[in-house]
């Protein structure tokens, strides 16, 4: 472990170099990159967050994409989980309870972030500052301003980012998906009449938080202060940790935050919305508790061109019935425009994380797209939390004319953390 003042101790350095040498892993940050020697074929990886999804993204986005990785380090605020991770991944995995020390290691190429979402943005930013490429579990962030800060950091340091959802890779393979994408990207459509209703797939009731949780002693294996991190330091309760953290605004944002990025990622690519966000958001929900996520029925998000997305929980409350689902068709264009769209080449396929790391180009689930996708969930949740319609400026990334709503776009963090 490093020293409290942030320096890397000789012991840590030797451990790091020994681990790298033992497995003949040459970090890409030494050999790889444009204009340099051919990169090592094996990525040196680290995992931050060893709970449920810990390690899944490394398999999904490296192994399944034909790449190889070797896990050299793992970090968790729960020593029990850390020990389990070591058992699962092998003794070469150096355990850390403080991610800052892990990121100081110079032999790591890729960091896989699988903590609860209130940590995602800060960890992504820190990883980018440390020169690591990033696999980040969904949802990418806990609130909107975090996403912009992650985009800035990744771009500043030229880091490859892949969000932990792969829907757009499937959307690209679909003839219909590519056709709609071309129509939208052609610029020939004045107004988009499409209405996409995503019904179900949100365990609304199961993601409601406790409103009467009585504080309990913090277990000895858990660093509760570091777990809370940038979020308010609440009294410990086991329901705020270990999966059910999703049921609290402090850490995630209920079923909508947990699942919407999966559903919206392919849709956003298909409809060419990777660089923008809706302008009007309305919802139907029960009154929301300040800390515990609650019941919601649906959220309607409308873009400036009229394209409408509906997230219908299909579990509680009235079903959405304002607009019928409506797909975009070539026939929505005039004859001349149709010909132009049909003559357009297919868009570039989304690049796998492995290829993106090798070529230093953008991965399919890149940082801006991921930010815009999770923004949909955040906007829906802001409307749900306040029980009213909101208007959004997708360029300034601010709510228009609703100060309280804007305070949910950017939420000041607890010390010592900041965006």
């Amino acid at each position: 472990m490093g020293r409290p003042d942030g320096r890397v101790s000789r012991r840590t350095f030797l451990q790091g170099t020994a681990a790298a040498a033992a497995f003949a892993i040459v970090p890409r940050n030494v050999l790889g990159g444009p204009g340099q020697s051919p990169p090592s074929e094996t990525l040196a990886a680290a995992l931050i967050g060893c709970g449920g999804q810990g390690g899944e993204d490394l398999e999904s986005y490296i192994t399944n994409a034909g790449g190889r990785y070797r896990l050299l380090a793992a970090c968790d605020v729960d020593k029990g989980r850390l020990a389990q991770a070591r058992k699962k991944f092998g003794d070469q995995v150096e355990p850390y309870t403080d991610f800052r020390r892990l990121l100081e290691r110079q032999d790591i190429d890729v960091v896989s972030i699988a903590t609860p979402p209130h940590w995602h943005a800060l960890l992504c930013i820190a990883a980018a500052q440390a020169g690591k490429d990033i696999l980040c579990e969904k949802p990418m962030t806990r609130f909107i301003a975090e996403g912009r800060a992650v985009v800035t950091a990744c771009k500043r340091y030229g880091r490859v980012f892949q969000i932990g959802t792969s829907g757009r890779f499937g959307a690209y393979k679909s003839d219909l998906g590519r056709r709609i994408h071309k129509i939208m990207r052609s610029g020939l459509l004045k107004r988009c009449p499409a209405v996409h209703v995503h019904k179900g797939g949100f365990p609304v009731r199961g993601y409601c938080g406790l409103v009467n949780a009585r504080p309990e002693p913090v277990p000895g294996h858990l660093d509760w202060d570091l777990y809370c991190g940038p979020s308010p330091l609440r009294p410990y309760h086991p329901h705020r940790f270990g999966g059910s953290h999703r049921n609290y605004w402090d850490y995630e944002g209920g079923s909508l935050a947990d699942f919407a990025q999966h559903y919206m990622d392919p849709l956003q690519w298909t409809y060419g919305k990777d660089d923008t966000s809706p302008v009007e958001i309305d919802s139907c929900a029960a009154p929301q508790h300040p800390e515990a996520c609650g019941l919601w029925a649906w959220a309607e998000l409308t873009y400036a061109d009229g394209f409408t997305i509906v997230l219908d929980g299909n579990e509680w409350g009235p079903r959405y019935d304002r607009k019928p689902p409506r797909r975009l068709e070539l026939s929505d264009l005039d004859k001349e425009s149709r010909k132009k769209v049909e003559a357009m080449p297919d868009p570039e396929p989304p690049r796998s994380f492995v290829e993106a790391v090798k070529t230093r180009r953008e991965a399919g689930g890149h940082v801006e797209a991921a930010h815009r996708a999770v923004t949909l969930a955040h906007l829906a949740n802001i409307s749900i939390r306040l029980g009213r319609k909101i208007r959004y400026d997708p360029v300034k990334e601010e709510i228009v004319g609703d100060e309280a709503a804007n305070r949910l776009v950017y939420q000041p963090m607890r010390e010592p953390w900041h965006l």
Partner: protein, 282 residues
């Protein structure tokens, strides 16, 4: 103006959570009842708000589920009326209890709700709370959310606090891009606490203080590991701020320095970032 008993009866109409302790049991009738309660509480004015606060308890020290929920819903309600006077009246009523001898957990909750519904009218109250080490971070977050008039409170409190509170205030002055904090940032850049130094570096970047560029670069050069990442990042942010202000030469000097000094293989990404940004800045 409801009596205490009437207020208790009103709050009692807020539905109980289900046996598991969640509000999965809400239906149209219960939601209608909640809305009625919130409307009646709003009509009750300041006395109703203070009465509601009287029912709050320190976490784990009593059952305050209903008034806790009701106070928040009232805060949300007043922010959605389009009536700033009504919002401010609510906020002042809540603020009047922040400095009381109520349990710290209750006062933290009140501060949290002021972070949602408060405005300039409550910044002095929150400024006082900055001086209480137990409340400082909560109050600082609420003030940073309110923004309007907050910087003056941070500046006034800064000489009076120490430790984590001081860190809180320096960080939030950065959040607010407070140019008046320039000297405080420069001084804190040499603090013995690494977190304070990082906060100061970030603050300098946020206010795009060109006069601190050399000190910031020198500080970042001296550091290692986590602190070096952060202070180097602040150098980039400062350069970007200077560029945005049209001060190209000063920004370019920062990029040149970073490009020349980050020569280790482990800092290749920094060097390349500086070279890219420097080229773009020309």
């Amino acid at each position: 103006m409801p009596t205490t008993e009437e207020l208790k009866a009103l709050v009692a109409q807020v539905p109980d959570p289900d046996p598991n302790g969640t509000y999965v049991n809400l239906d149209d009738a219960k939601i209608g009842r909640i809305r009625q309660v919130v409307g009646d509480l709003h009509k009750g004015g300041r006395d109703a708000v203070v009465g509601l606060i009287d029912m709050l308890a320190e976490p784990g020290q009593g059952n305050d589920v209903k008034p806790h929920f009701a106070l928040h819903l009232l805060a949300v309600h007043v922010t959605g009326l389009g009536d700033d006077k009504a919002r401010a009246q609510f906020a002042l009523a809540v603020a009047s209890q922040v400095g009381s001898d109520r349990p710290k957990g209750v006062r933290k909750y009140l501060i949290q709700e002021l972070g949602l519904a408060g405005g300039r009218e409550v910044v002095e109250t929150l400024g006082q709370a900055l001086l209480d080490a137990d409340l400082c971070d909560d109050a600082a977050r609420a003030l940073a959310a309110i923004r309007d008039g907050a910087a003056e409170q941070f500046l006034a409190a800064l000489p009076k606090v120490q430790g984590r509170s001081r860190l809180s205030l320096i960080k939030k002055l950065g959040v607010l891009c407070c140019a008046k904090a320039a000297d405080a940032f420069k001084q804190a850049l040499g603090d013995e606490d690494a977190d304070v130094r990082i906060a100061a570096a970030w603050g300098i970047a946020r206010i795009a203080d060109a006069s601190a560029a050399d000190a910031l670069l020198a500080a970042a050069d001296r550091r290692e590991g986590w602190e070096r990442f952060n202070e180097t990042d602040a150098c980039f942010a400062l350069a970007e701020g200077l560029l945005a202000a049209g001060r190209k030469a000063e920004a370019a000097a920062i990029y040149t320095h970073l490009g020349k000094t980050r020569t280790a293989p482990s800092e290749r990404h920094v060097r390349e970032a500086a070279e890219r940004a420097g080229a773009a800045a020309k």
